[in-house]
């Protein structure tokens, strides 16, 4: 009997069968549902301008926010360092959630442990959990460094990580020399991006301080010619590869500070290792002597940047995610300026090819009204890309606050960027708003395209707007993170994603005389 003869149906087709339709109807008598009319009216009302006004006037309830909590970012940051075990101090459910959430995006394992604090730790503090946890995790998972972040539980009861780690050393659970970095990441402050920042700063400052090295930026010693580069809370492993390609083309020496691409794009070899790649621990203190530091997420890495320019007294260039031609031009000019090296011809040629591709596609992009959702640095990059292609950003939502960099707030920068272009005149930037606000915006002021994470799919569906998945998390599409979206090559990928989504829409809607072969 073939599979077809067995009539095996997936859940979409199975539950469309008449017997299941009947079941659904029959069940309603026990559900006490609202009448069809009530539901239809409520649906229509939820799409109205009146509802939108109410939606925007709510003060306290948050509905479908586009942000996660601090320690999630810290776990990702810790995985950016060689043989480093992320260690979450607090109740264990948080750690389970961070591991699932990150694994669902990357389709890769997320090794991370927790101190499994329960009621007794809530009363007496989590010191014993931390000491036992260090002993067990170091014995079992053999990391070369442990990177501890806190959850809201540990923060509310006021656990003192520094003294707890000290006591673990006194008890001999770990040696005096064993590196344990840490940061405080209460979930009721900031978001995943500030948590990422806190851990990067925690690790850099910890490894630097304990090394005894005194920073002499650009001193010409071993690391003096190197450039430090930070990508930030980076959901694209492909972006790391693209950046390496660019830096390789410049023929500059560099250290990536926080590189989780190895962990989140590891090969299936038949054997699982807990740690893949990452920034070498010995490279971190040396990075204090580097020529300069380049940050590719200036809003995300705010505190780390302050640390580097302050304590390391180092030259620092901070950009937002380098998307689009101009964004990449800026990246290359910045690298050139920091290193004194000319922009390589190979990249100039690549630029030409991607500009050519943009020309080929521009008629389908021009004037397209776009909604954008994401983290601050991604949004700055996306806005720039849209404006240079003739797309018009209309609704822009950033749930995770109005982060500032050098006293310029994200909202101010985004608005200035938009105001400088005739294609940005219709845009409104909403900070601290959520995807339920976005739903109202999409329904009341229609756009052609939405760009954002998988979480945006619900609002996009209600508004019948095609969604191009960019950012974090992307749960419902495969391998997006393996392709870069930064640099010229990334621009080409982004362009392909967008233009082909638009062309697919044309095919879906133009099924008659204009169902065309050539576009």
């Amino acid at each position: 009997m073939s599979r077809d003869e067995l009539n095996i149906k997936d859940n979409t087709s199975l539950f469309k069968e008449e017997r299941y339709v009947q079941q659904r109807e029959n069940k309603k008598q026990f559900e006490a549902p609202c009448s069809e009319q009530e539901t239809a009216e409520a649906l229509a009302y939820s799409k109205s301008a009146e509802y939108m006004e109410k939606n925007f006037s709510r003060q306290n309830v948050v509905i479908n926010p586009h942000k996660a909590c601090q320690p999630l970012g810290s776990v990702m940051a810790a995985l950016g360092f060689e043989k480093t075990l992320p260690f979450v101090h607090g109740s264990q459910g948080c750690n389970a959630y961070f591991r699932s959430h990150l694994s669902r995006h990357f389709k890769e394992p997320t090794p991370s442990v927790s101190t499994s604090m329960t009621e007794d730790a809530a009363v007496f503090g989590g010191m014993n959990n931390l000491i036992d946890g260090l002993e067990n995790s170091v014995a079992l998972y053999k990391p070369e460094m442990v990177a501890i972040c806190t959850t809201c539980m540990a923060e509310v009861i006021g656990d003192d990580l520094n003294s707890f780690i000290g006591n673990a050393r006194i008890k001999g659970v770990i040696s005096e020399e064993y590196p344990v970095a840490y940061c405080n990441t209460p979930s009721f402050v900031g978001s995943h991006i500030t948590g990422y920042d806190a851990m990067i700063k925690g690790i850099l400052s910890y490894l630097y301080t304990r090394s005894g090295i005194e920073s002499k930026p650009g001193s010409g010693e071993e690391s003096g010619e190197k450039l430090n580069v930070m990508l930030g809370f980076e959901p694209y492993t492909g972006n790391f590869a693209e950046l390496r390609k660019i830096l390789g083309a410049f023929d500059t020496k560099y250290t990536i500070l926080g590189d989780h691409s190895g962990n989140y794009d590891s090969p299936a070899t038949g054997e699982y290792e807990y740690y893949y790649g990452g920034t070498k621990l010995a490279d971190v203190p040396q990075a204090a002597n580097a020529l300069a530091t380049l940050s590719l997420q200036k809003y995300t890495l705010k505190k780390t940047q302050e640390y580097i320019s302050g304590t390391w007294n180092q030259k620092l260039a901070a950009l937002s995610t380098p998307l689009g031609i101009k964004g990449t031009d800026t990246l290359l000019a910045t690298i050139s300026e920091l290193t004194g090296l000319p922009v390589p011809a190979m990249l100039t040629e690549e630029r030409g090819r991607v500009v050519d591709a943009l020309m080929d596609s521009h008629p389908y992009l021009h004037g397209k009204r776009v909604a954008l959702v994401g983290d601050p640095d991604l949004l700055i990059g996306l806005i720039g890309f849209c404006l240079e292609t003739g797309m018009e950003p209309v609704h822009i939502i950033c749930s995770n606050g109005d982060v500032d960099f050098n006293e310029v707030k994200f909202k101010d920068e985004a608005e200035a960027l938009l105001a400088a272009s005739p294609y940005g005149t219709e845009a409104t930037v909403h900070v601290g708003k959520d995807l339920w606000h976005m739903r109202s915006l999409l329904l009341n002021d229609k756009v052609d395209l939405a760009i954002g994470s998988s979480h945006l799919k619900f609002a996009a569906k209600d508004a019948e707007v095609p969604l191009v998945r960019v950012g974090f998390p992307i749960f419902d599409r495969h391998h997006m993170h393996r392709y870069p979206i930064i640099g010229y090559q990334g621009t080409l990928n982004l362009l392909s994603l967008i233009v082909n989504t638009i062309l697919q829409q044309l095919d879906d809607h133009n099924s008659g005389f204009n169902f065309e072969l050539v576009r």
Binding site: N11, R58, N64, Y97, A268
Partner: protein
């Protein structure tokens, strides 16, 4: 299959050697190799439902995950507030695949994340006032919501907010059930306490609050089916085909009214005993409703369960049951005829939540597969007592196994199929070991009932027999071959 009690005991001992002394002493208590005595007397020496060791990669979650993620979240016509910081609600948003009919955001709120998004000021000054405003705003935003539940996260309990008082006051003001659920993540040792707390809240705030227009002799409830991938629908259809009337479905695709009228049933049918045994016990005591644990994984267990259910009713139902089994059996036999030869004698390791590690054994056996190791994330003693008689001698039974233990067992026992969750999945992909995500059916399903078994069999075959596993360049086979070969 060559399961040996002695060998596997030795294997477990070897694995445990990696632990520091204190942790090793604890972990030892969580293992048992099934022997004649344990199987026959269903005694169980495995320690369960106690704290995980700090610093090990436990698969466990927390009480909030048990309450909001499992029990309350799927109640579709109520709004469930993730009360506290943003993370918990974000991570549990839509990830358990509880299917529900309805219009999302209008009369169905399952795949949504509604949170109070606690900020530092809420920690300092408390979140009670904000909670009241949130409830008012919810009725503005979602006029068709039938009720609200407050799923409290860690800080709420630690700062001493009185969510009960706020809920009581607002329930009056808004004239709808508002249920405070004290499921802070630090309570208990796993999701399990969250289930219990959630069940207590159902008991205290909604049970028995509504009436059924008419009751009948065949009225039953489906308890503890979360409708992952449509499981509860594939189960319900069989009960209804048999002539029973399912008046409430808890909690997958469930509604407030179903929770409120369930006490009118003549029988409670419980699938996930682990998460909802508290309910059937209570309903038996308070309303005299008998209950029966059933298992709709795989035809053998499904036939058994259907007959056991029918035996509690009259001859009409029993006759219907036999006729129904007669109708489905040829199809089930055909499924087995096709897939069994492809799966015969394959070894399976399971580590799932609190029910499926036991309930799915029969389904694997129907396909000729051998369970050689099985464990639970958050089970209690009774789960192990029920599991042991289902196992062959030499099977490794493990409680709250750590990532390290699972990986070692897989390597040392040369496992053909691992069934566990998303945190484990990609580890086994690296190892080149066939894997199914058995919390969420790996985005497939349903797996319950006869319709579900077809999908289950197809999925297991697809997984075990995919040619991709042969592409994994295992170490050792990577050595350069001599030229000319």
């Amino acid at each position: 299959m060559g399961l040996s009690i002695e060998e596997n005991q030795k294997l477990v001992e070897e694995i445990l050697e990696a632990y520091p002394k204190k942790a090793r002493k604890d972990r030892e208590k969580h293992f048992q190799v099934a022997d004649e005595k344990a199987i026959d007397c269903s005694t169980c020496a495995v320690k369960s439902n106690i704290k995980s060791r700090p610093g090990v990669m436990t698969p466990r979650g927390c009480a909030y995950a048990g309450s909001k993620g499992v029990v309350w979240g799927p109640i579709k016509d109520m709004v469930h507030i993730s009360h506290g910081p943003v993370g918990c609600g974000q991570y549990s948003w839509g990830s358990r695949r509880n299917f529900a009919n309805g219009t999302l955001g209008i009369d169905n709120f399952t795949a949504m994340q509604i949170t109070s998004d606690f900020q530092e000021t809420d920690i300092v000054f408390g979140g009670d006032k904000k909670l009241a405003v949130i409830m008012r705003e919810i009725t503005e935003m979602f006029p068709l919501a039938k009720g609200i539940s407050v799923q409290s996260e860690c800080p709420v309990g630690l700062i001493g907010d009185d969510i009960e008082a706020v809920s009581k006051k607002m329930s009056k003001e808004l004239a709808m059930p508002i249920v405070p659920v004290r499921c802070e993540g630090f309570r208990g040792v796993s999701q399990s306490l969250g289930h219990h707390i959630a069940n207590d809240a159902i008991r205290d705030f909604v049970m028995g609050r509504a009436e059924l227009a008419e009751t009948g002799p065949y009225d039953v409830n489906i308890i503890g089916d979360y409708n992952i991938g449509g499981d509860a629908w594939a189960s319900r259809i069989l009960l209804e085909e048999m002539g029973l009337r399912v008046i409430a479905q808890w909690s997958g695709d469930g509604s407030l009214n179903e929770l409120e009228v369930a006490h009118k049933a003549k029988l409670n049918l419980i699938h996930c005993h682990r998460s909802m045994n508290y309910m059937v016990d209570h309903m038996e005591k308070a309303y005299g409703i008998p209950w029966l644990e059933y298992n709709f994984f795989g035809p053998t267990k499904t036939y058994e369960s259907l007959r056991a259910i029918a035996a509690l009713f009259d001859a009409t139902i029993q006759e219907n049951c036999e006729q129904m089994i007669a109708r489905y059996k040829p199809v089930m036999d055909a499924v087995i005829r096709k897939y069994r030869p492809r799966l015969e004698n394959k070894t399976v390791m399971l580590m799932i939540g609190g029910l499926r590690s036991r309930h799915t054994i029969g389904a694997y056996e129907d396909l000729g597969m051998d369970i050689v190791a099985s464990g639970y994330e958050f089970a209690h003693k009774d789960d192990y007592e029920k599991m042991l008689p289902m196992l062959a001698e030499g099977t490794i039974v493990m409680d709250d196994p750590t990532a390290y233990e699972l990986e070692e067992i897989t390597k040392k026992m040369n496992i053909d199929l691992v069934g566990s969750g998303v945190k484990e999945k990609y580890v086994y992909h690296k190892m080149g070991v066939p894997f199914r995500q058995m919390h969420s059916w790996d985005y497939s399903g349903p797996y319950h009932g006869f319709d579900g078994f077809k999908v289950f069999a197809k999925d297991m075959d697809m997984t075990v027999n995919s040619p991709i596993w042969d592409l994994v360049s295992r170490r050792g086979t990577m050595e350069p071959k001599e030229a000319g070969v």
